[in-house]
Symmetry: C2
Subunit: 376 residues, 2 copies
């Protein structure tokens, strides 16, 4: 079977590591021949995943296509779907999710708990909603990794509001942030991974570290799982979905955002769950039964982020000390250049008790640094 | 770091899946551009791993080289080692192991328990040792996967003895066959995987299936581990070593053969041990600390072998049923053509109790078939 991946970043890289368990012939479309996934596929195609022609030409000889990022040309995917190419997730699901206005409206229409919101067309329009603050302002299309997301606490913040269509979401009094990954097979069966719990670094709006299974009351987990399954069923698409949720200070669950693909909140599933999210997506694409999502041990993910003040050839400080830690596993994404805040890799560490686990996670965060330097 | 692999088969394929956790730039030398590992490396080089020039030219710009098969040009590796290329395992260790006469003599010289033997130069010479039977006759160089190995039970069998230098080894009254994988770091530290226990199919002389950890008395395991460590220390080489041993009917341990590389007896470590044998070898090559060899769950490996009477494009029957089994993981090696007895892949299955584990292993053996057919 010929399977294409739109996007050649680290998610594509890890997908391709898992792909080699099967006989799929793999294709990657990406506009950077040095991208993390380029050397791990059978056929690398240079091109722009946002271009209709590039995506259509890439896909028209393939049996199936998946994505590692939402910002792809959905029109081309819809045409390919009509012509019989199987798309994971469906173009309709990508269309709902890639625009945060449409995504938010979808939650409302399907009774998925998500914070109140107003749609904004431009800055002037946003400024007219001063009474809706404090809120989080998200750009409709093109946001990624915290870009295109603004926290607007007071009317004074409104002068900085982006001047583009977006959605203004009531700020939730967050107790915890969790993410659930749900796999949905073409036959409609689903499998759900244990929830992950994250700690966000407010400066970079990237995960500081994350633990899984999340430490939340069973009843809250049940609600979160029910909401996640309801959401994925409503999307009516095969594929893998990561649902980011807030648990508010009253223990209520609110969906923040969904990603229709393998997700950074599931990196630990490679070592810490029997069937990784990457293997799971291949099982769906290739028509095999879903795998076992059970955890092996509690795990933490620590992102490896380019250090402030360092731009240039990447050098990893502290790797050896990290790998001395029992059950610490490093994943470097093969990006040659570092810059401040760039995701360069991650570490998964596992331990049977959470106290030691968080201690190890903090230790790893403090040991590991990505700097630019002559060493490599 | 630029790292080359001599050989592009399934072991190279799985090594490269693991390599993408790190930043190593990977090279593969193999004379088949459609080999299992070809598409997973940064640079595929077409060439013959037994040729001095091919191996030397391949290796001279690299930082390190490893092997996935012993039948490589050791002279070239020795020259490269002199020029500063790091070789895992050392050329000296490969030279000892790749010739079964030298390997056997090495065990004797270093007090490693191994069955009595006589060296044979040709068929006439072998026929003169009728009084040494029953014995196993192994060709000195070039044997692989049961080829070049003969069981000579009676003087009548001697007419079929191969007519080349070899070694005639006293037949051991085998109770069990086990294998131990030992990782040896450049700093001399070692890590040992739990023993695996195998069942051999006498017809093909390929593994029928294998379980790990082996079900052997603790005192026998201690001896086996001590022998394995002694052997690897004597080889004085960094790298990964798989030591195949017999346990005789009296519970004595005898070394059969050693492989100086990742090994089919360690496939299950991908899912069933925290640090896989593939990750472990990269840790050694890249100078990182050794990983955790502890088992996650008892596991069985079932080889996926080309069915008798089928030669041609490979088609896998029963894959879906196998993947329905909880904690069954399929690894297909991407070989386009099947033929009787060809290793096409393996399945790892895990279960907490051995009764259910062996039941599952037998079920998988009976479900899965590689045939030639129009389907793919």
């Amino acid at each position: 079977m010929k399977v294409g991946i739109l996007g050649g970043g680290q998610l594509g890289r890890m997908l391709l590591q898992a792909a080699a368990n099967y006989t799929a012939e793999t294709y990657v479309l990406e506009n950077d021949p040095g991208c993390p996934a380029a050397h791990l596929c059978h056929h690398f195609v240079l091109g722009d995943i946002t271009s209709y022609d590039a995506v259509y030409d890439f896909g028209k000889g393939l049996d199936a296509i998946t994505i590692e990022i939402e910002s792809v040309n959905v029109d081309a995917l819809e045409q390919l779907e009509k012509e019989g190419v199987r798309i994971y997730p469906s173009p309709a699901a990508i269309r709902i999710i890639k625009n945060k206005i449409v995504q938010k409206q979808f939650y409302k229409d399907h009774g998925i708990p998500s914070s109140d919101f107003v749609i904004t067309q431009n800055r002037a329009n946003t400024e007219a909603h001063a009474d809706f603050l404090p809120a989080v302002h998200k750009i409709g299309e093109g946001g990624y990794d915290g870009k295109g997301v603004q926290v607007l606490n007071t009317p004074e913040d409104l002068v900085n509001a982006f001047d583009a269509p977006g959605v203004l979401e009531k700020k939730v009094a967050i107790q915890k942030e969790i993410a659930l990954i749900v796999a949905q097979h073409t036959d409609g069966s689903t499998a759900i991974y244990p929830a992950s719990e994250m700690m966000v670094n407010p400066a970079l709006n990237l995960l500081d570290y994350q633990i899984s299974p999340a430490l939340i009351p069973e009843k809250v987990l049940w609600v979160a799982e029910a909401v996640a399954i309801k959401l994925v069923k409503a999307l009516q698409s095969p594929g893998l979905f990561a649902i980011e949720m807030f648990i508010d200070i009253n223990g209520e669950v609110w969906v923040n955002e969904t990603a229709p693909r393998v997700h950074n909140s599931g990196h630990h599933t490679i070592e810490a769950n029997h069937c990784s999210q990457y293997d799971m997506l291949w099982r769906i694409i290739l028509g095999y039964p879903l795998g076992n999502t059970a955890p092996i041990l509690p795990a933490a993910i620590i992102n490896i982020i380019g250090a402030e003040g360092h731009s240039g050839p990447a050098h990893y400080e502290g790797l050896e000390d990290v790998l001395k830690i029992d059950n610490a596993f490093v994943h470097l994404y093969g990006k040659k250049q570092t810059k401040p805040g760039r995701k360069m890799g991650h570490v998964t560490v596992m331990h049977s008790n959470y106290h030691d686990l968080t201690h190890k996670a903090n230790k790893i965060r403090n040991i590991l640094r990505v700097v630019s330097g002559s060493k490599s």
